[in-house]
Protein backbone atom coordinates (compact mmCIF):
# COMPACT_ATOMS: atom_id res chain seq x y z
CA UNK A 1 0.00 0.00 0.00
CA UNK A 2 2.72 2.35 1.03
CA UNK A 3 4.85 1.51 -1.98
CA UNK A 4 2.08 2.09 -4.51
CA UNK A 5 1.41 5.48 -2.92
CA UNK A 6 5.02 6.41 -3.37
CA UNK A 7 5.08 5.19 -6.98
CA UNK A 8 1.87 7.10 -7.67
CA UNK A 9 3.25 10.27 -6.14
CA UNK A 10 6.44 10.01 -8.17
CA UNK A 11 4.47 9.44 -11.36
CA UNK A 12 2.30 12.47 -10.59
CA UNK A 13 5.37 14.57 -9.89
CA UNK A 14 6.89 13.52 -13.21
CA UNK A 15 3.72 14.45 -15.08
CA UNK A 16 3.55 17.83 -13.34
CA UNK A 17 7.23 18.46 -14.02
CA UNK A 18 6.73 17.64 -17.68
CA UNK A 19 3.71 19.92 -17.91
CA UNK A 20 5.55 22.75 -16.22
CA UNK A 21 8.64 22.44 -18.39
CA UNK A 22 6.59 22.09 -21.56
CA UNK A 23 4.33 25.01 -20.72
CA UNK A 24 7.24 27.21 -19.69
CA UNK A 25 9.15 26.44 -22.87
CA UNK A 26 6.09 27.21 -24.97
CA UNK A 27 5.47 30.49 -23.18
CA UNK A 28 9.13 31.41 -23.39
CA UNK A 29 9.08 30.88 -27.14
CA UNK A 30 5.91 32.97 -27.47
CA UNK A 31 7.34 35.82 -25.41
CA UNK A 32 10.48 35.75 -27.53
CA UNK A 33 8.29 36.00 -30.62
CA UNK A 34 6.45 39.01 -29.20
CA UNK A 35 9.70 40.75 -28.29
CA UNK A 36 11.10 40.10 -31.75
CA UNK A 37 7.94 41.34 -33.47
CA UNK A 38 7.90 44.44 -31.25
CA UNK A 39 11.47 45.37 -32.15
CA UNK A 40 10.66 44.88 -35.83
CA UNK A 41 7.63 47.16 -35.56
CA UNK A 42 9.74 49.71 -33.68
CA UNK A 43 12.33 49.73 -36.45
CA UNK A 44 9.69 50.00 -39.19
CA UNK A 45 7.97 52.91 -37.43
CA UNK A 46 11.27 54.76 -37.26
CA UNK A 47 11.86 54.02 -40.92
CA UNK A 48 8.43 55.37 -41.81
CA UNK A 49 8.99 58.55 -39.82
CA UNK A 50 12.35 59.09 -41.55
CA UNK A 51 10.80 58.56 -44.97
CA UNK A 52 8.06 61.04 -44.05
CA UNK A 53 10.66 63.58 -43.02
CA UNK A 54 12.34 63.12 -46.39
CA UNK A 55 9.00 63.62 -48.09
CA UNK A 56 8.42 66.83 -46.13
CA UNK A 57 11.80 68.17 -47.22
CA UNK A 58 11.72 67.06 -50.85
CA UNK A 59 10.34 70.38 -52.06
CA UNK A 60 7.47 68.99 -54.11
CA UNK A 61 4.87 69.68 -51.42
CA UNK A 62 3.44 73.01 -50.36
CA UNK A 63 4.94 74.61 -47.26
CA UNK A 64 1.93 73.96 -45.01
CA UNK A 65 1.75 70.25 -45.85
CA UNK A 66 5.50 69.99 -45.40
CA UNK A 67 5.26 71.53 -41.94
CA UNK A 68 2.46 69.22 -40.85
CA UNK A 69 4.40 66.18 -42.07
CA UNK A 70 7.65 67.30 -40.50
CA UNK A 71 5.90 67.94 -37.20
CA UNK A 72 4.20 64.56 -37.10
CA UNK A 73 7.40 62.77 -38.16
CA UNK A 74 9.50 64.49 -35.48
CA UNK A 75 6.91 63.65 -32.83
CA UNK A 76 7.17 60.02 -33.87
CA UNK A 77 10.97 60.00 -33.81
CA UNK A 78 11.03 61.60 -30.35
CA UNK A 79 8.24 59.46 -28.93
CA UNK A 80 8.73 57.73 -25.60
CA UNK A 81 8.91 54.10 -26.74
CA UNK A 82 8.05 52.75 -23.29
CA UNK A 83 4.61 54.34 -23.22
CA UNK A 84 2.67 52.27 -25.76
CA UNK A 85 -0.64 54.13 -25.53
CA UNK A 86 0.83 57.56 -26.26
CA UNK A 87 2.96 56.09 -29.01
CA UNK A 88 -0.08 54.61 -30.66
CA UNK A 89 -1.70 58.04 -30.71
CA UNK A 90 1.41 59.66 -32.17
CA UNK A 91 1.72 57.06 -34.95
CA UNK A 92 -1.96 57.36 -35.83
CA UNK A 93 -1.41 61.11 -36.08
CA UNK A 94 1.44 60.52 -38.50
CA UNK A 95 -0.77 58.33 -40.67
CA UNK A 96 -3.42 61.03 -40.67
CA UNK A 97 -0.88 63.70 -41.56
CA UNK A 98 0.23 61.58 -44.53
CA UNK A 99 -3.36 61.06 -45.56
CA UNK A 100 -4.00 64.81 -45.46
CA UNK A 101 -0.81 65.79 -47.24
CA UNK A 102 -1.15 63.20 -49.99
CA UNK A 103 -4.26 64.46 -51.72
CA UNK A 104 -4.89 63.71 -55.37
CA UNK A 105 -3.04 66.74 -56.69
CA UNK A 106 -0.05 66.33 -54.43
CA UNK A 107 0.21 62.65 -55.41
CA UNK A 108 0.09 63.54 -59.07
CA UNK A 109 2.81 66.16 -58.66
CA UNK A 110 5.03 63.77 -56.69
CA UNK A 111 4.62 60.94 -59.20
CA UNK A 112 5.51 63.23 -62.09
CA UNK A 113 8.68 64.37 -60.36
CA UNK A 114 10.74 61.33 -61.31
CA UNK A 115 14.03 62.63 -59.93
CA UNK A 116 13.00 63.25 -56.31
CA UNK A 117 9.27 63.07 -55.64
CA UNK A 118 8.47 59.62 -57.02
CA UNK A 119 11.29 57.73 -55.26
CA UNK A 120 10.58 59.48 -51.95
CA UNK A 121 6.87 58.67 -52.25
CA UNK A 122 7.82 55.07 -53.03
CA UNK A 123 9.94 54.94 -49.86
CA UNK A 124 7.01 56.18 -47.78
CA UNK A 125 4.70 53.60 -49.40
CA UNK A 126 7.17 50.76 -48.77
CA UNK A 127 7.79 51.85 -45.19
CA UNK A 128 4.06 52.07 -44.51
CA UNK A 129 3.48 48.62 -45.96
CA UNK A 130 6.18 47.25 -43.63
CA UNK A 131 4.54 48.96 -40.67
CA UNK A 132 1.24 47.31 -41.56
CA UNK A 133 2.90 43.90 -41.85
CA UNK A 134 4.97 44.26 -38.69
CA UNK A 135 1.97 45.42 -36.68
CA UNK A 136 -0.17 42.54 -37.89
CA UNK A 137 2.52 39.97 -37.06
CA UNK A 138 3.03 41.53 -33.63
CA UNK A 139 -0.68 41.45 -32.87
CA UNK A 140 -0.88 37.80 -33.95
CA UNK A 141 1.94 36.97 -31.55
CA UNK A 142 0.30 38.96 -28.74
CA UNK A 143 -3.01 37.18 -29.31
CA UNK A 144 -1.23 33.82 -29.05
CA UNK A 145 0.53 34.75 -25.81
CA UNK A 146 -2.62 36.06 -24.20
CA UNK A 147 -4.56 32.95 -25.15
CA UNK A 148 -1.96 30.63 -23.62
CA UNK A 149 -1.66 32.77 -20.50
CA UNK A 150 -5.41 32.56 -19.95
CA UNK A 151 -5.20 28.79 -19.53
CA UNK A 152 -5.99 27.77 -15.92
CA UNK A 153 -2.90 25.54 -15.54
CA UNK A 154 -0.61 28.28 -16.74
CA UNK A 155 -2.21 30.79 -14.35
CA UNK A 156 -2.26 28.44 -11.38
CA UNK A 157 1.41 27.52 -11.73
CA UNK A 158 2.39 31.09 -12.66
CA UNK A 159 4.31 29.77 -15.65
CA UNK A 160 4.58 33.24 -17.13
CA UNK A 161 6.67 34.36 -14.16
CA UNK A 162 6.95 38.11 -13.95
CA UNK A 163 6.78 38.74 -17.69
CA UNK A 164 4.36 41.55 -18.48
CA UNK A 165 1.14 40.67 -20.28
CA UNK A 166 1.77 42.05 -23.79
CA UNK A 167 -0.74 44.41 -25.42
CA UNK A 168 -1.76 44.55 -29.05
CA UNK A 169 -0.54 47.64 -30.88
CA UNK A 170 -3.55 49.53 -32.20
CA UNK A 171 -2.97 52.32 -34.71
CA UNK A 172 -4.46 53.55 -37.92
CA UNK A 173 -1.90 52.58 -40.58
CA UNK A 174 -3.96 52.36 -43.73
CA UNK A 175 -3.00 54.60 -46.61
CA UNK A 176 -5.16 53.27 -49.44
CA UNK A 177 -3.92 55.81 -51.95
CA UNK A 178 -0.39 54.43 -51.67
CA UNK A 179 -1.40 50.85 -52.41
CA UNK A 180 -0.24 49.73 -55.82
CA UNK A 181 -2.82 49.82 -58.55
CA UNK A 182 -5.10 52.19 -56.67
Amino acid sequence: MNLSWIVGAIALAVVIAWYVSYGAARLDRLHTRVEGALSVLDAQLVRRAEATLELANCGALDAASALILAGAATDSLEADTTDQRSREAIESDLTQALELALGEEALLRLRQDEAVGAPVLQRVATANQRVELARRFLNDAVTDVRRVRRKPGVRLLRLAGHAELPQTFEIDDELPMLVRGA
Binding site: V20, S21, Y22, A24, A25, R26, L27, D28, R29, L30, R33, G36, A37, S39, V40, A43, Q44, T126, Q129, R130, L133, A134, R136, F137, N139, D140, A141, T143, D144, R147, V148, A160, G161, H162, A163, R180, G181
Partner: protein, 394 residues
Protein backbone atom coordinates in the same frame (compact mmCIF):
# COMPACT_ATOMS: atom_id res chain seq x y z
CA UNK B 1 18.43 35.97 -48.81
CA UNK B 2 18.54 32.20 -48.17
CA UNK B 3 15.00 30.92 -48.46
CA UNK B 4 13.65 27.44 -47.79
CA UNK B 5 10.21 26.67 -49.21
CA UNK B 6 8.21 23.58 -48.26
CA UNK B 7 5.46 22.13 -50.43
CA UNK B 8 3.20 19.51 -48.85
CA UNK B 9 2.08 18.12 -52.20
CA UNK B 10 4.08 16.01 -54.60
CA UNK B 11 5.57 17.61 -57.69
CA UNK B 12 4.66 14.44 -59.63
CA UNK B 13 1.14 15.77 -60.12
CA UNK B 14 0.31 19.33 -61.10
CA UNK B 15 -1.84 21.33 -58.71
CA UNK B 16 -2.40 24.89 -57.56
CA UNK B 17 -0.11 24.78 -54.53
CA UNK B 18 2.76 23.04 -56.34
CA UNK B 19 2.57 25.48 -59.25
CA UNK B 20 2.55 28.40 -56.83
CA UNK B 21 5.63 27.03 -55.06
CA UNK B 22 7.45 26.36 -58.33
CA UNK B 23 6.71 29.79 -59.79
CA UNK B 24 7.56 31.63 -56.58
CA UNK B 25 10.84 29.71 -56.27
CA UNK B 26 11.81 30.39 -59.88
CA UNK B 27 10.94 34.06 -59.63
CA UNK B 28 12.91 34.49 -56.38
CA UNK B 29 15.89 32.69 -57.94
CA UNK B 30 15.73 35.02 -60.93
CA UNK B 31 15.92 37.93 -58.47
CA UNK B 32 19.20 36.49 -57.15
CA UNK B 33 18.05 34.80 -53.94
CA UNK B 34 19.13 31.33 -52.86
CA UNK B 35 16.05 29.09 -52.82
CA UNK B 36 15.66 25.43 -51.90
CA UNK B 37 12.29 23.70 -52.16
CA UNK B 38 11.46 20.63 -50.10
CA UNK B 39 8.65 18.54 -51.56
CA UNK B 40 7.52 14.93 -51.72
CA UNK B 41 8.54 13.16 -54.93
CA UNK B 42 9.18 9.64 -56.15
CA UNK B 43 12.84 8.71 -56.49
CA UNK B 44 12.72 8.46 -60.26
CA UNK B 45 10.87 11.74 -60.88
CA UNK B 46 13.11 14.28 -62.59
CA UNK B 47 13.18 17.39 -60.39
CA UNK B 48 14.40 20.92 -61.01
CA UNK B 49 17.78 21.37 -59.33
CA UNK B 50 16.38 23.64 -56.61
CA UNK B 51 13.99 20.91 -55.38
CA UNK B 52 14.97 18.42 -52.68
CA UNK B 53 12.83 15.30 -52.30
CA UNK B 54 11.40 14.59 -48.86
CA UNK B 55 10.60 11.04 -49.87
CA UNK B 56 8.00 9.03 -51.70
CA UNK B 57 4.50 10.45 -51.92
CA UNK B 58 1.49 8.32 -51.12
CA UNK B 59 -1.97 9.10 -52.49
CA UNK B 60 -4.19 10.01 -49.57
CA UNK B 61 -7.77 11.20 -49.54
CA UNK B 62 -7.71 14.48 -47.67
CA UNK B 63 -9.90 17.56 -47.71
CA UNK B 64 -12.23 16.32 -50.41
CA UNK B 65 -9.71 15.29 -53.03
CA UNK B 66 -6.88 12.80 -53.42
CA UNK B 67 -3.52 14.38 -52.67
CA UNK B 68 -0.06 12.87 -52.90
CA UNK B 69 1.51 13.45 -49.49
CA UNK B 70 4.54 12.20 -47.64
CA UNK B 71 4.99 11.59 -43.91
CA UNK B 72 6.47 9.17 -41.41
CA UNK B 73 9.77 9.04 -39.48
CA UNK B 74 11.94 8.79 -42.60
CA UNK B 75 10.41 11.93 -44.04
CA UNK B 76 10.79 13.70 -40.69
CA UNK B 77 14.50 12.85 -40.68
CA UNK B 78 14.91 14.19 -44.20
CA UNK B 79 13.15 17.40 -43.20
CA UNK B 80 15.61 17.83 -40.33
CA UNK B 81 18.60 17.26 -42.60
CA UNK B 82 17.27 19.73 -45.16
CA UNK B 83 16.88 22.44 -42.51
CA UNK B 84 20.39 21.81 -41.13
CA UNK B 85 22.03 21.86 -44.55
CA UNK B 86 20.12 24.89 -45.81
CA UNK B 87 21.24 27.60 -43.31
CA UNK B 88 18.07 29.47 -44.22
CA UNK B 89 17.26 33.02 -43.20
CA UNK B 90 13.59 32.19 -43.48
CA UNK B 91 11.50 29.06 -44.03
CA UNK B 92 8.26 29.44 -45.96
CA UNK B 93 5.74 26.64 -45.35
CA UNK B 94 2.75 26.09 -47.59
CA UNK B 95 -0.44 24.62 -46.13
CA UNK B 96 1.03 24.03 -42.65
CA UNK B 97 -2.00 22.08 -41.45
CA UNK B 98 -1.92 19.47 -44.22
CA UNK B 99 -0.67 16.11 -42.89
CA UNK B 100 2.52 16.17 -44.92
CA UNK B 101 6.00 17.68 -45.10
CA UNK B 102 4.94 21.20 -44.10
CA UNK B 103 3.61 20.14 -40.72
CA UNK B 104 6.75 18.07 -40.14
CA UNK B 105 8.91 21.05 -41.02
CA UNK B 106 6.92 23.28 -38.70
CA UNK B 107 7.60 20.76 -35.96
CA UNK B 108 11.33 20.65 -36.66
CA UNK B 109 12.17 24.29 -37.30
CA UNK B 110 13.00 27.14 -34.94
CA UNK B 111 13.46 30.68 -36.24
CA UNK B 112 11.75 32.94 -38.75
CA UNK B 113 8.82 31.01 -40.20
CA UNK B 114 6.33 32.25 -42.78
CA UNK B 115 3.27 30.16 -43.61
CA UNK B 116 0.89 30.46 -46.54
CA UNK B 117 -2.66 29.16 -46.30
CA UNK B 118 -4.18 28.25 -49.66
CA UNK B 119 -7.35 26.42 -48.83
CA UNK B 120 -10.65 28.03 -47.99
CA UNK B 121 -12.11 24.82 -46.60
CA UNK B 122 -9.95 23.38 -43.86
CA UNK B 123 -11.49 20.10 -42.88
CA UNK B 124 -12.63 21.22 -39.51
CA UNK B 125 -13.22 17.79 -37.97
CA UNK B 126 -9.67 16.61 -38.53
CA UNK B 127 -8.41 20.03 -37.51
CA UNK B 128 -10.35 20.10 -34.25
CA UNK B 129 -9.36 16.57 -33.35
CA UNK B 130 -5.65 17.24 -33.84
CA UNK B 131 -5.80 20.80 -32.55
CA UNK B 132 -4.19 20.46 -29.12
CA UNK B 133 -1.30 18.72 -30.83
CA UNK B 134 -0.91 21.28 -33.62
CA UNK B 135 -1.53 24.45 -31.62
CA UNK B 136 1.91 24.88 -29.99
CA UNK B 137 3.75 24.41 -33.28
CA UNK B 138 1.41 26.78 -35.08
CA UNK B 139 2.44 29.38 -32.50
CA UNK B 140 5.92 29.32 -34.01
CA UNK B 141 4.73 30.91 -37.24
CA UNK B 142 5.93 34.51 -37.32
CA UNK B 143 3.91 35.64 -40.33
CA UNK B 144 0.80 34.21 -41.88
CA UNK B 145 -0.18 34.76 -45.49
CA UNK B 146 -3.52 33.84 -47.04
CA UNK B 147 -3.87 33.66 -50.81
CA UNK B 148 -7.38 35.07 -50.78
CA UNK B 149 -9.99 36.69 -48.55
CA UNK B 150 -11.71 33.31 -48.23
CA UNK B 151 -8.51 31.62 -47.13
CA UNK B 152 -7.95 34.47 -44.69
CA UNK B 153 -11.40 34.01 -43.18
CA UNK B 154 -10.62 30.32 -42.69
CA UNK B 155 -7.44 31.26 -40.85
CA UNK B 156 -9.16 33.76 -38.58
CA UNK B 157 -12.05 31.46 -37.67
CA UNK B 158 -10.06 28.25 -37.22
CA UNK B 159 -6.74 29.50 -35.88
CA UNK B 160 -7.53 32.95 -34.51
CA UNK B 161 -5.38 35.99 -35.20
CA UNK B 162 -5.06 37.35 -38.69
CA UNK B 163 -3.30 36.82 -41.99
CA UNK B 164 -1.97 39.08 -44.70
CA UNK B 165 -3.66 38.55 -48.06
CA UNK B 166 -1.18 38.11 -50.90
CA UNK B 167 -2.78 36.60 -53.99
CA UNK B 168 -1.33 33.90 -56.18
CA UNK B 169 0.99 35.09 -58.90
CA UNK B 170 0.90 34.49 -62.62
CA UNK B 171 3.62 34.99 -65.23
CA UNK B 172 1.34 37.27 -67.23
CA UNK B 173 3.78 37.57 -70.14
CA UNK B 174 3.85 33.79 -70.74
CA UNK B 175 0.12 33.81 -71.36
CA UNK B 176 -0.03 37.17 -73.10
CA UNK B 177 2.48 36.00 -75.71
CA UNK B 178 0.70 32.68 -76.39
CA UNK B 179 0.16 31.86 -80.05
CA UNK B 180 -3.40 31.39 -81.27
CA UNK B 181 -4.20 28.12 -82.96
CA UNK B 182 -6.45 28.12 -86.03
CA UNK B 183 -8.24 24.90 -85.16
CA UNK B 184 -9.21 26.32 -81.75
CA UNK B 185 -10.35 29.71 -82.98
CA UNK B 186 -14.05 30.21 -83.51
CA UNK B 187 -15.82 31.40 -86.62
CA UNK B 188 -19.18 33.18 -86.84
CA UNK B 189 -20.97 29.92 -87.60
CA UNK B 190 -18.81 27.73 -85.38
CA UNK B 191 -17.77 29.73 -82.30
CA UNK B 192 -15.64 28.00 -79.63
CA UNK B 193 -15.88 27.91 -75.87
CA UNK B 194 -13.33 26.26 -73.55
CA UNK B 195 -13.48 24.36 -70.26
CA UNK B 196 -10.30 23.57 -68.33
CA UNK B 197 -9.77 21.28 -65.37
CA UNK B 198 -10.53 17.86 -63.93
CA UNK B 199 -13.89 17.24 -65.55
CA UNK B 200 -14.90 14.39 -63.27
CA UNK B 201 -14.68 16.54 -60.16
CA UNK B 202 -18.22 17.93 -59.78
CA UNK B 203 -17.14 21.17 -58.07
CA UNK B 204 -15.23 22.11 -61.23
CA UNK B 205 -18.68 22.58 -62.72
CA UNK B 206 -18.72 20.24 -65.72
CA UNK B 207 -22.29 19.06 -64.91
CA UNK B 208 -23.54 22.66 -65.03
CA UNK B 209 -21.96 23.18 -68.43
CA UNK B 210 -23.35 19.83 -69.64
CA UNK B 211 -26.87 20.87 -68.66
CA UNK B 212 -26.44 24.29 -70.25
CA UNK B 213 -25.26 22.90 -73.58
CA UNK B 214 -28.68 21.92 -75.03
CA UNK B 215 -29.92 25.48 -74.35
CA UNK B 216 -26.84 26.94 -76.06
CA UNK B 217 -27.13 24.59 -79.03
CA UNK B 218 -30.77 25.57 -79.48
CA UNK B 219 -29.65 29.15 -80.15
CA UNK B 220 -26.25 28.55 -81.80
CA UNK B 221 -26.20 25.04 -83.29
CA UNK B 222 -22.60 25.27 -84.52
CA UNK B 223 -20.93 25.91 -81.15
CA UNK B 224 -17.83 23.82 -80.31
CA UNK B 225 -16.87 23.06 -76.73
CA UNK B 226 -13.16 22.38 -76.22
CA UNK B 227 -12.53 20.48 -72.99
CA UNK B 228 -8.97 20.23 -71.68
CA UNK B 229 -7.89 18.37 -68.58
CA UNK B 230 -7.50 14.89 -67.13
CA UNK B 231 -10.51 12.56 -66.94
CA UNK B 232 -12.48 9.97 -68.87
CA UNK B 233 -14.49 11.61 -71.69
CA UNK B 234 -16.95 8.68 -71.77
CA UNK B 235 -18.14 9.34 -68.22
CA UNK B 236 -18.96 12.91 -69.23
CA UNK B 237 -20.48 12.07 -72.63
CA UNK B 238 -22.94 9.57 -71.25
CA UNK B 239 -24.44 12.23 -68.98
CA UNK B 240 -25.17 14.47 -71.96
CA UNK B 241 -27.76 14.55 -74.72
CA UNK B 242 -26.51 13.16 -78.04
CA UNK B 243 -26.27 16.61 -79.65
CA UNK B 244 -24.41 18.05 -76.67
CA UNK B 245 -21.92 15.18 -76.66
CA UNK B 246 -21.29 15.77 -80.36
CA UNK B 247 -20.45 19.43 -79.76
CA UNK B 248 -17.71 18.50 -77.26
CA UNK B 249 -14.09 17.90 -78.23
CA UNK B 250 -11.88 16.36 -75.57
CA UNK B 251 -8.25 17.43 -75.72
CA UNK B 252 -7.07 15.46 -72.67
CA UNK B 253 -4.42 16.91 -70.35
CA UNK B 254 -2.60 19.76 -72.12
CA UNK B 255 0.85 21.29 -71.67
CA UNK B 256 1.21 24.76 -70.16
CA UNK B 257 1.91 26.12 -73.62
CA UNK B 258 -1.19 24.53 -75.15
CA UNK B 259 -3.26 25.76 -72.23
CA UNK B 260 -2.15 29.32 -72.94
CA UNK B 261 -2.81 28.88 -76.67
CA UNK B 262 -6.25 27.44 -75.99
CA UNK B 263 -7.17 30.38 -73.74
CA UNK B 264 -5.87 32.84 -76.32
CA UNK B 265 -7.74 31.19 -79.20
CA UNK B 266 -11.28 30.50 -77.99
CA UNK B 267 -14.13 32.99 -78.11
CA UNK B 268 -15.22 32.45 -74.50
CA UNK B 269 -13.52 30.70 -71.59
CA UNK B 270 -16.09 29.25 -69.17
CA UNK B 271 -15.36 28.60 -65.47
CA UNK B 272 -18.58 27.05 -64.09
CA UNK B 273 -17.00 26.00 -60.76
CA UNK B 274 -19.60 25.47 -58.06
CA UNK B 275 -17.37 25.86 -55.01
CA UNK B 276 -14.16 24.90 -53.28
CA UNK B 277 -12.25 27.61 -55.12
CA UNK B 278 -10.32 29.83 -52.80
CA UNK B 279 -8.74 31.81 -55.57
CA UNK B 280 -9.31 31.82 -59.30
CA UNK B 281 -5.76 31.46 -60.62
CA UNK B 282 -7.11 30.02 -63.85
CA UNK B 283 -9.19 33.14 -64.37
CA UNK B 284 -6.08 35.26 -64.14
CA UNK B 285 -4.27 33.04 -66.61
CA UNK B 286 -7.22 33.35 -68.96
CA UNK B 287 -7.28 37.14 -68.55
CA UNK B 288 -3.52 37.26 -69.21
CA UNK B 289 -4.09 35.38 -72.48
CA UNK B 290 -6.75 37.98 -73.34
CA UNK B 291 -9.58 35.49 -73.20
CA UNK B 292 -13.15 36.58 -72.60
CA UNK B 293 -13.92 35.12 -69.18
CA UNK B 294 -17.35 33.86 -68.14
CA UNK B 295 -17.37 32.54 -64.57
CA UNK B 296 -19.83 31.49 -61.89
CA UNK B 297 -20.43 34.20 -59.30
CA UNK B 298 -18.41 32.57 -56.51
CA UNK B 299 -17.11 35.21 -54.09
CA UNK B 300 -13.53 34.24 -54.94
CA UNK B 301 -14.16 34.77 -58.65
CA UNK B 302 -16.08 38.01 -58.09
CA UNK B 303 -13.07 39.46 -56.25
CA UNK B 304 -10.75 38.59 -59.12
CA UNK B 305 -13.04 39.80 -61.88
CA UNK B 306 -14.40 42.85 -60.06
CA UNK B 307 -16.90 44.80 -62.16
CA UNK B 308 -15.53 44.68 -65.65
CA UNK B 309 -12.74 42.13 -66.14
CA UNK B 310 -15.13 39.33 -67.03
CA UNK B 311 -18.77 38.30 -66.97
CA UNK B 312 -20.48 36.25 -64.27
CA UNK B 313 -23.52 34.00 -64.15
CA UNK B 314 -25.54 32.60 -61.23
CA UNK B 315 -23.55 29.77 -59.67
CA UNK B 316 -25.02 26.34 -60.51
CA UNK B 317 -27.68 27.71 -62.85
CA UNK B 318 -27.35 26.11 -66.34
CA UNK B 319 -30.05 28.33 -67.85
CA UNK B 320 -28.30 31.51 -66.75
CA UNK B 321 -24.98 30.09 -68.00
CA UNK B 322 -26.51 29.33 -71.41
CA UNK B 323 -28.01 32.81 -71.66
CA UNK B 324 -24.66 34.41 -70.82
CA UNK B 325 -22.74 32.24 -73.33
CA UNK B 326 -25.19 33.02 -76.13
CA UNK B 327 -25.14 36.72 -75.27
CA UNK B 328 -21.34 36.86 -75.42
CA UNK B 329 -21.00 34.78 -78.57
CA UNK B 330 -23.40 37.13 -80.35
CA UNK B 331 -21.61 40.29 -79.20
CA UNK B 332 -17.98 40.46 -80.40
CA UNK B 333 -17.66 44.07 -79.22
CA UNK B 334 -18.54 43.16 -75.65
CA UNK B 335 -16.07 40.25 -75.79
CA UNK B 336 -13.30 42.58 -76.89
CA UNK B 337 -14.10 45.01 -74.06
CA UNK B 338 -14.02 42.27 -71.44
CA UNK B 339 -10.80 40.79 -72.81
CA UNK B 340 -9.05 44.16 -72.78
CA UNK B 341 -10.20 44.97 -69.23
CA UNK B 342 -9.16 41.48 -68.13
CA UNK B 343 -5.67 41.85 -69.57
CA UNK B 344 -5.30 45.11 -67.63
CA UNK B 345 -6.60 43.54 -64.40
CA UNK B 346 -4.22 40.56 -64.73
CA UNK B 347 -1.21 42.85 -64.25
CA UNK B 348 -2.06 43.22 -60.56
CA UNK B 349 -1.37 39.49 -60.17
CA UNK B 350 1.91 39.32 -62.07
CA UNK B 351 4.71 37.62 -60.16
CA UNK B 352 6.82 40.77 -60.28
CA UNK B 353 4.16 42.47 -58.12
CA UNK B 354 3.23 39.50 -55.94
CA UNK B 355 6.78 38.38 -55.16
CA UNK B 356 7.62 41.88 -53.96
CA UNK B 357 4.88 41.58 -51.34
CA UNK B 358 6.10 38.12 -50.32
CA UNK B 359 9.64 39.47 -49.97
CA UNK B 360 8.33 42.31 -47.80
CA UNK B 361 6.88 39.66 -45.46
CA UNK B 362 10.18 37.73 -45.42
CA UNK B 363 12.12 40.87 -44.61
CA UNK B 364 9.73 41.75 -41.80
CA UNK B 365 10.12 38.40 -40.03
CA UNK B 366 13.83 38.06 -40.74
CA UNK B 367 14.64 41.55 -39.47
CA UNK B 368 16.89 41.23 -36.45
CA UNK B 369 16.25 37.49 -36.05
CA UNK B 370 18.86 34.77 -36.19
CA UNK B 371 18.66 32.22 -38.97
CA UNK B 372 16.55 29.07 -39.06
CA UNK B 373 17.72 26.00 -37.19
CA UNK B 374 16.36 22.68 -36.05
CA UNK B 375 14.80 22.64 -32.62
CA UNK B 376 16.45 19.43 -31.42
CA UNK B 377 19.68 20.88 -30.07
CA UNK B 378 17.86 23.37 -27.94
CA UNK B 379 16.40 20.96 -25.44
CA UNK B 380 13.33 21.76 -23.48
CA UNK B 381 15.33 21.78 -20.27
CA UNK B 382 17.81 24.28 -21.63
CA UNK B 383 14.96 26.54 -22.62
CA UNK B 384 13.29 26.12 -19.24
CA UNK B 385 16.48 27.08 -17.42
CA UNK B 386 16.83 30.09 -19.65
CA UNK B 387 13.23 31.17 -19.17
CA UNK B 388 13.65 30.75 -15.41
CA UNK B 389 16.62 33.11 -15.50
CA UNK B 390 14.80 35.58 -17.71
CA UNK B 391 11.67 35.80 -15.65
CA UNK B 392 13.74 36.06 -12.46
CA UNK B 393 15.88 38.85 -13.89
CA UNK B 394 13.33 41.23 -15.31
Amino acid sequence: MRIGIVSPYSFDVPGGVQLHVRDLAEHLISLGHYVSVLAPADDDTPLPDYVVSSGRAVPVRYNGSVARLSFGPLTAARVGRWVEAGHFDVVHLHEPVTPSVSVLALWAVEGPIVATFHTSNLRSRAMQAAYPLLRPSLEKIGARIAVSEDARRTVTTHLGGDAVVIPNGVFVERFASAKRRGDWEGTAARPTIAFLGRMEEPRKGMPVLAQALPHILAEIPGVRVLIAGPGDPESIRKEMTKEAAKACEFLGPVSDQDKASLLASVDVYVAPNTGGESFGIILIEAMSAQATVLASDLPAFARVLRADAGQMFRNGDPVDLARAVVGLLRNPLRREELAAAGRERANAFDWSVVAEDVLAVYETVVFGASSVRTGEHDSRWARLRRSGRNSGGT
